[in-house]
Amino acid sequence: MHSQTTGHAVSRSRAATVEFDHVTKHYDSVQNRRGAAGAVDDLSFTVPAGKICVLVGPSGCGKTTSLKMVNRLIEPTSGRIRIDSVDISTRERTELRRGIGYVIQQVGLFPHQTIEENVATVPRLLGWQTARRRERAHELLALIGLDPAKYARRYPAQLSGGERQRVGVARALAADPPIMLMDEPFGAVDPIVRERLQNEFLRLQEDLAKTILFVTHDIDEAIKMGDLVAVLEVGGKLAQFGPPEEMLANPASDFVARFVGTDRGLKLLSLFRVGHLPMAEFPTVRVGDDAGTARRRSRTHAFPYELLVDDGRRPIGWIPDKAIPEEGALTADQAVPMSPRLDRRTTLKDALSLLLDANVQAGVVVDRHGALVGVVTVDEIAAWMRQRNASLGETVEGRDGTGASAEGGTEDRRAGPHGVDAHPAPAAADSP
């Protein structure tokens, strides 16, 4: 019974394009007095298939309203929303919704149903056979990291907040919808769990490649999760639409600049990784090298330290030029302790932070086996960002503010879900 479907955990299904075309939602004054959700004013943008678009803005900016118009929980006053060019107002509501994953902050798991039943909600609505539903639910539980044998028969009240959020995501994925709507999906958990859930989700999305509309009020989450970010202001106006680095480098208005915050330079750094920097070959000396040769070579470059590596090119430490012995062979104990060790996946923000923290100029970048890749300095990071911002500024000019064309430059920047793998060694204050 389960022989055909082993192998692929989740089919890589189609994604769909979602297009907002002059969408407006007004609430009359009575509804406003009742505290109705935010209005939306002439919203136009397109989310390409397979991308995460984050709707971000202060409360009352209409971001949730916009999201709920996609599965028709709210109907727009005017304008069209199209999914793969089909106007959704022409589709039957429940049928439309069964084809769109929906995750909300409060999760909304049905407390009287087991986790398995909860996950299989949409498959059940679609009339799948019991065996297939169960198989699918177990597959998804495994995918989100909850052991089906342990969790399938439990009830929501028996799960932690983070586990429930994950089940919420699994439930939304159950019928493999091309589109997911996520309304502050990680808003109700503590920051540590949130970070983990975000990373897990980004990793999932690498395989799933769904089209995702994601609502948050947290600018950091928007920058982290979004391929594209739509910033909304109160009143439901689109203030800026584009990849997050563009928003950080070139805020379209004072509002956007204020909203992303004065630390947007640092936020921008968090979008890139050490691997993005061009790393030149760095001169090294090896344990056992002749000290005289090393001393002569040290005069050929301005850097006042030599990097000592072992036979596997694994960095051991720095030898100040002045401390190189007159003669004999170089030994490991001549090197001063290591400055921060980075790897290619360390974000530039973390790299900079580690360097500043250790009060050093240069960090050593190593590969998976600990072998030297290159050296990163504070100046290099600054110079690279300067250059990048300058080139980004050129491409952004003349671009249509709300168009769908905002994809340039997103290719390689995704910082990815894998977190920081830096290994900061205790660094002496006087090392490089």
């Binding site: 709920k68 599965n71 929980l73 509501r93 429940t94 049928e95 439309l96 919704r97 069964r98 929906y102 909300i104 409060q106 999760v107 909304g108 798991l109 049905f110 407390p111 009287h112 149903q113 087991t114 909600t121 949409v122 609505l125 028969r153 439990r154 009830y155 929501p156 009240a157 028996q158 799960l159 932690s160 907040g161 429930r164 439930r171 709507l181 109700a188």
Partner: protein
């Protein structure tokens, strides 16, 4: 002591005026009244609970039934019930003995059933409804699959209230010469037979308590597993993690 003597008298346990007969009469009338009240109160309660529409209107109208004393309802309905007998073709005996009592009791039972159904549905977390709707459940599926199961204990609570009131009130049927346990009370008063009056009251109270306990059991049985207290057998076996407050699913 006289009351115990009354109960131990074998003559009181058989025949048309025996305890089993009177209990049966009492229960039949109560069941009929509850059924009628359910057929009216439950759909209305579920409708206003699910849609939130016309809720105040419906609840206020229903509560009028509570406000008018059943005795007054009985007396008011009596002439109408008798008068309509020839027109509607039922026997005047039924018009006298059964219909007014039945209607007075049903009127009394509607409000708790209706109001509890409404309150039960209203108490269901809005996020669950929204999550259900967002996933593509139809309104009927939300009602049957989410709202009613989660509200079942509150809904049954309405039946318990209704049942208690109806069982107590059914005694007034004896005034219009219906049977039931009220006979002992009414006849006892007429004959100045206090043990009979007390015995009747004890029987009514005992019956009410018994039915209430049965419904409490049903209420417990209908509470969905995921919402039961962790101490409930079965649920505890599953519970390996600390329990957050059950319900809500948040």
């Amino acid at each position: 002591m006289d009351v115990i003597a009354w109960f131990t008298d074998p003559a009181h346990w058989s025949g048309f005026d025996g305890i089993p007969t009177r209990i049966a009469e009492h229960l039949v009338l109560c069941a009929a009244a509850l059924l009628a009240a359910t057929l009216i109160g439950l759909p209305i309660g579920l409708y206003i609970g699910h849609t939130g529409r016309a809720a105040n209107l419906a609840i206020n109208i229903a509560n009028i039934g509570r406000a008018i004393p059943s005795y007054a309802v009985l007396v008011m309905l009596l002439p109408i019930s008798l008068g309509l007998a020839p027109t509607l073709g039922y026997s005047p005996t039924i018009g006298l003995r059964i219909i007014p009592t039945f209607l007075a009791m049903a009127l009394l039972a509607i409000p708790p059933i209706l109001v509890n159904a409404y309150a039960g549905l209203q108490s269901v977390d809005r996020d669950l409804i929204e999550a259900g709707r967002g996933q593509g459940l139809r309104e009927g599926q939300i009602l049957r699959g989410i709202e009613i199961p989660l509200a079942s204990s509150v809904i049954v609570g309405g039946f318990r209230t209704a049942a208690l009131q109806v069982i107590a009130t059914a005694t007034i049927g004896a005034i219009v010469s219906y049977g039931g346990l009220g006979r002992y009370i009414i006849d006892g008063i007429a004959r100045n037979d206090l043990p009979r009056v007390v015995a009747g009251a004890v029987l009514v109270a005992g019956l009410a308590i018994a039915i209430d306990l049965a419904l409490a059991g049903l209420q417990r049985l209908l509470t969905p597993r995921g919402l039961r207290r962790p101490t409930t057998r079965g649920f505890t076996e599953l519970a390996e993690v600390p329990q957050p407050a059950a319900g809500g699913g948040v």
